[in-house]
């Protein structure tokens, strides 16, 4: 990305650097969680930018950086069909089964 000045006017801006998604492990024992994104020319720079942008106050102990374009996401319009089986299969939940109170530790 270059930004040359075109005459006396505003500088011309070229193509954006790729977008990277940032994930932070807030402390040991927890999973990395998505916190936002940064633009950077490569992964190493993305890591540096993520550190400056998202961890100025002890927010984490580890960073993951993933190119946004590499993320495969489900389609919100398909969410009904995609996640419906979970709701219709109540027998997957322990409360589905009636066990007398007299039976302990189950």
């Amino acid at each position: 990305m270059t930004g040359e000045t075109s005459g006396a006017g505003a500088p011309r801006i070229n193509r954006d650097w790729p977008l990277w998604e940032v994930f932070i492990r807030s402390r040991g024992g927890l999973s990395h969680k998505h916190v936002g994104s940064v633009h950077a020319s490569d992964g190493e720079m993305a890591l540096r930018h993520a550190r400056d942008t998202y961890t100025r106050r002890m927010e984490g102990v580890s960073l993951w950086i993933v190119k946004s374009a590499d993320i495969v996401a489900s389609d919100p319009e398909q969410a009904g069909e995609l996640f419906e089986p979970a709701a219709s299969k109540v027998y997957r939940h322990p409360t589905f089964y009636d066990i007398p109170d007299i039976v302990k530790h189950i």
């Binding site: 990305m1 930004g3 500088p11 070229n14 020319s41 490569d42 942008t53 998202y54």
Partner: protein, 329 residues
């Protein structure tokens, strides 16, 4: 402030005629039920455009907002104050970045937004087009300007667009330090020599009214408020927030032993709130039009920063290209 439409001529965006009424109704119902809208969800074009405008204005405000304080970084009166000021300015840069990313999820690019700002086409908060003349202005900005920003941003943590709301949660977490360090500067000056106290009073005199303007035009002159409130893009009206700000800030000024520069300011027992004078809206609209005292300097500083950083961006791109070539080979 940031939820304010700075462009007086901007009309609420009309619905696009070919949008399906079923989708529109389902969207309105989700928003009314306080659900969050996420980037890939269907949304009316007017909602998308309003958000892009609002979030990008908010982002630009953070970025330009670094300049008035940047002006004092090298002249902070102690190492402690300098470290604090640096941390605060760095936070503002971070806030701008969170917000640009949130706007990008709506389909605009960083490039377009940067270009609009540098070309002078984008709006940002009017407050940053006032000069920072003395060190006391660092105190007044933290106390009043960041105070007004907090007032505005706290309700935005529940704004209907998910990425914007999440950015606001991060911003609000960090903003409280900004206000407190500003008030601490004001306390030090107010308890200092008579000259220092006069300096604090002078800063309050100059920043009070521009701070009230940050909440935007009065409700009866704010054409976008109704639609934005219905869509939960905005959660409170300009006048409500302004009143709230006056009510909490006046006692703070009293604590400092400083006088709020408003002869009409008095406590209204019946309303349980302060009555206050009329804001000079002509001045506000002049600043919105780009006639603020240092509007030109602000834009020039942004353009210079962009141009002077060009070689760094170029070098990084070339470095990346070279390394990916080597890896491919």
């Amino acid at each position: 402030m940031y939820t304010t439409e700075f462009d007086k001529s901007a009309k609420p965006l009309a619905a696009v005629p070919n949008e399906s009424p079923e989708l529109l109704n389902a969207f309105e119902a989700r928003v009314a039920a306080d659900e969050f809208i996420e980037p890939k969800d269907w949304m009316p074009e007017a909602y998308r455009k309003t958000l892009v405008r609002q979030i990008s204005q908010h982002a630009h405000s953070e970025i330009v907002g670094m300049l008035p304080e940047g002006n004092w970084l090298t002249r902070a009166p102690s190492l402690r104050r300098k470290a604090v000021a640096l941390a605060k300015v760095q936070d503002e840069a971070g806030h701008g970045l969170y917000l640009y990313c949130a706007a990008e999820t709506l389909g605009t690019s960083r490039e377009e937004m940067t270009e609009a700002l540098l070309a002078g086409k984008a709006k940002y908060s009017t407050i940053f087009n006032y000069p920072t003349l003395t060190w006391a202005d660092m105190g007044a900005i933290g106390w009043l300007v960041d105070g007004a920003a907090i007032m505005n941003q706290v309700p935005l943590q529940r704004t209907s667009y998910g990425p914007y709301a999440r950015a606001m949660v991060r911003v609000c977490k960090e903003e409280s330090f900004h206000q407190r360090q500003g008030f601490e500067i004001m306390m030090a000056l107010a308890n200092g020599t008579p000259e220092q106290k006069a300096m604090a009073q002078d800063a309050l005199d100059r920043w009070w009214w521009p701070s009230l303007m940050m909440f935007g035009p009065p409700d009866d002159n704010s054409p976008n408020t109704a639609q934005s409130m219905r869509w939960r893009i905005k959660r409170d009206t300009n006048d409500d927030l302004r009143q709230k700000f006056v009510d909490i800030t006046v006692p703070q000024a009293k604590y400092l032993g400083l006088t709020v520069p408003d002869p009409d300011l008095r406590w209204n027992e019946e309303r349980g709130a302060y009555d206050f004078g009329v804001v000079d809206w002509d001045e506000f609209y002049a600043v919105v039009r780009g006639e603020g005292p240092v509007a030109k300097e602000r834009l020039k500083a942004r353009r210079d920063a962009w141009s002077e950083g060009a070689w760094v961006r170029e070098a990084a791109s070339v470095y990346e290209a070279k390394h990916s070539q080597q890896q491919a080979a």
